[in-house]
């Protein structure tokens, strides 16, 4: 530990709010969720057992602990519904992330290469959708994608189709919604990285005979990988647990963990199972977090 700098009292105090925040709004709720996920559903308020009886003393604790079990996780493992939902979540989030990288990279590049005086305005335009409620924006997509919606109307006017396409309540609609909603989270970190790249590097590549496309693929993209990883991580992680978009734009067959969780919690009033799903989502999401953190570190190490 000799390489570690001593931390002063002030810096320690400055860290305190972050720790308290994390403890109050992540660790504690997570502990509660974890406990509920090990309980059994019951027709009661709250709708699960066992409840810890503080008056029971040590005996109360041991009965309480004995009543906890992993049945809900066994259900998650045994029932194909949950495996399919997990797989569905990963697939939707994965496909949407790939599309986001493919769309966001040229978009961020265009932003970073725009004349300096236009950049603040263009970046603001990327953020502007946030000024409107998320729900309203998703509902707007219903109006666009539904059979008699704007998209079908436009395609028919153009003579490209005869009968309306069924887009709403399909997998495609979910992907469209995810990509639309998360694009800013892809573009902004990527733009930040690309904007910091030394323009002399691109010039040097061009000077050495590289056409613009080769400059892009051999210099800009490799040096932007930390931004691509950050953006993809920032999108993928919340998309895995996404509920609103699949619920509003997806069909009845759209299986994602967020929806399953909602159904268990509100329709079936099975809090313990819903909690188990929540813990599963967290476990799935932690994987990429660890993965991306490492790749981000590697990227930072190689930056000039």
């Amino acid at each position: 530990m000799s390489g570690r700098k001593p931390v002063g009292l002030f810096d320690r105090l400055m860290r305190l709010p972050a720790f308290l925040w994390l403890a109050a709004f992540f660790l504690l709720p997570f502990a509660i969720t974890l406990k509920i996920s090990l309980s059994e559903p019951a027709t009661a308020i709250p709708p699960y057992l066992p409840l810890l009886d503080w008056r029971g003393g040590l005996d109360g604790w041991s009965t309480f602990l004995e009543a906890l079990n992993f049945d809900n996780y066994r259900t998650l493992y045994a029932d194909p519904l949950y495996r399919d939902a997990a797989l569905g979540s990963l697939t939707y989030a994965g496909v949407a992330s790939l599309i986001l990288v493919a769309l966001g990279t040229p978009l961020a590049y265009a932003l970073a290469r725009a004349p300096a005086r236009w950049q603040p305005l263009l970046v603001a335009l990327v953020i502007v959708p946030f000024w409107t409620s998320f729900l309203i924006r998703v509902y707007a997509w219903i109006a666009i994608l539904k059979p008699e919606g704007l998209l079908n109307l436009a395609l028919r006017r153009l003579g490209l189709i005869d009968a309306p396409l069924t887009i709403l309540n399909t997998e495609a609609a979910v992907i469209v919604g995810l990509v639309y909603a998360y694009l800013p989270f892809m573009v902004l970190p990527l733009y930040a990285v690309m904007n910091r790249l030394d323009p002399a590097l691109r010039e040097a590549a061009a000077d050495l005979g590289a056409a613009p496309s080769r400059v892009f693929w051999t210099v800009t993209v490799p040096l932007s990988l930390p931004g691509i990883a950050a953006g993809a991580g920032l999108c993928f992680i919340p998309m895995v647990g996404e509920f609103v978009i699949p619920d509003l734009l997806g069909g009845s067959e759209t299986l994602m963990l967020g929806r399953v969780l909602w159904t268990e919690f509100f329709s079936n009033r099975d809090w313990p199972l819903a909690s188990a799903v929540a813990v599963l989502i967290l476990a799935i999401v932690l994987g990429p977090v660890v993965l991306f953190r490492d790749s981000l570190r590697a990227g930072e190490g190689e930056a000039p």
């Binding site: 030394d198 002399a200 061009a206 000077d207 050495l208 590289a210 056409a211 210099v219 040096l223 190689e302």
Partner: protein, 352 residues
């Protein structure tokens, strides 16, 4: 290696305007093949913009850039047979040294590429460094990688933007010599941009001095030092004493008399200056000799600098002169009166 005439660079009335500001103003220049040319000027004089126009990173507002018979003016940078070494070196941090040097050699077969990269590493004395990342190299090593990378495509013309600017002093002098040696060996024309007159004089066959977007004087270092065309050039290339006065009769290139506040002084006027014109007589400190003749002065200060003694002299009107001479010659101590003279052909008569 014989230099090809195709490597002759010609700039015709090259102009670059940013808004209303003329960064480069009607610069015309002919470069000899295989010449080591230096663009010298203070920051903001347009020398870097001029270099970037030759490389293709800025497009000229007016004028033409010719290399041999080829008109480069409208070509994008990646189509120009010209390479540039960047001030920051701009090495690709995600590629090895060999990857950097070989970047411009796309299309070469694997073995030929490896051989060429090895040759270039040898040229800049970095054998065995091919697998290293630029981030692990010292400043001097990075500079050499940048040079090798810029030379990889055998450019007809190599542009170098402040090539030694990022190096510390000791390394600079060593690198200056190396740069000259490489240039002589390859016979490639080099155009270097620098704000450091000493560097320009050490490197260049010819120096072009830029002032406020204009190329004000071009010539070999000694000519520029001995026969500057203006006070600006005289002062840029080294310390100089300026004595104002009125010009006497005579033609260009002859020795003429200037009436100064301290009496008549003789010097050479290269330019055609009218009799009675207000001028300055410019004298280098090393040409000022303390002796029996010349302007009456009082020695106010003497600083011993090892190889020379620098004296500060005060003229009767309070103006100061600086004289620099061998310590052995110097007997005059501060406070003593003396006469400061100089040879007429060492004194340059310049427009005031």
């Amino acid at each position: 290696m014989s230099a090809l005439p195709a490597s002759r660079l010609r700039l015709e009335e090259l102009t670059k305007r940013f808004g209303t500001h003329r960064a480069v103003n009607a610069v015309s220049l002919d470069l000899e093949s295989g010449e080591f040319f230096c663009l010298l000027g203070p920051s903001g004089c347009g020398k870097s913009t001029l270099l970037r126009m030759i490389a293709g990173f800025e497009s000229p507002t007016a004028g033409r850039i010719l290399l041999g018979e080829q008109d480069l003016t409208a070509l994008p940078p990646h189509r120009r047979p010209v390479n540039m070494m960047f001030q920051s070196y701009a090495l690709f941090p995600h590629m090895s040294v060999a990857g950097n040097i070989g970047y411009g050699l796309k299309g070469l077969a694997r073995a030929a590429l490896a051989e060429r990269v090895a040759d270039l590493l040898k040229l800049v004395r970095l054998e065995g460094f091919g697998d290293r990342r630029p981030g692990t190299l010292s400043g001097g090593q990075r500079q050499r990688v940048a040079l090798a990378r810029a030379l990889a495509r055998e450019p007809k013309l190599l542009l170098l933007d402040e090539p030694l600017g990022a190096l510390d002093r000791g390394l600079r002098e060593e690198t200056q010599g190396e740069l000259r040696a490489v240039q002589r060996r390859l016979g490639t024309a080099f155009v270097v941009v620098t704000h450091d007159p000493e560097e320009a004089m050490m490197l260049a066959d010819r120096i072009g001095v830029m002032e406020a977007g204009r190329l004000v004087q071009v010539g070999p270092p000694a000519d520029l030092y001995r026969r500057p065309a203006s006070r600006f050039v005289a002062g840029l290339l080294g310390d100089v004493n300026l004595i104002p006065g009125r010009l006497g009769a005579g033609g260009p290139g002859t020795i003429r008399t200037v009436e100064t506040a301290h009496g008549p002084v003789r010097g050479v006027a290269e330019a055609a200056l009218a009799q009675g014109a207000s001028v300055v007589v410019a004298v280098r400190p090393e040409d000022v000799v303390l002796g029996a003749e010349g302007l009456p002065v009082v020695v106010t200060d003497a600083v011993f600098l090892g190889d020379r003694l620098r004296r500060t002299l005060r003229l009767p009107d309070g103006a100061t002169l600086r004289a620099s001479g061998r310590p052995a010659e110097a007997g005059e101590m501060p406070g003593s009166e003396a006469r400061a003279g100089f040879a007429a052909d060492a004194a340059m008569i310049l427009p005031a």
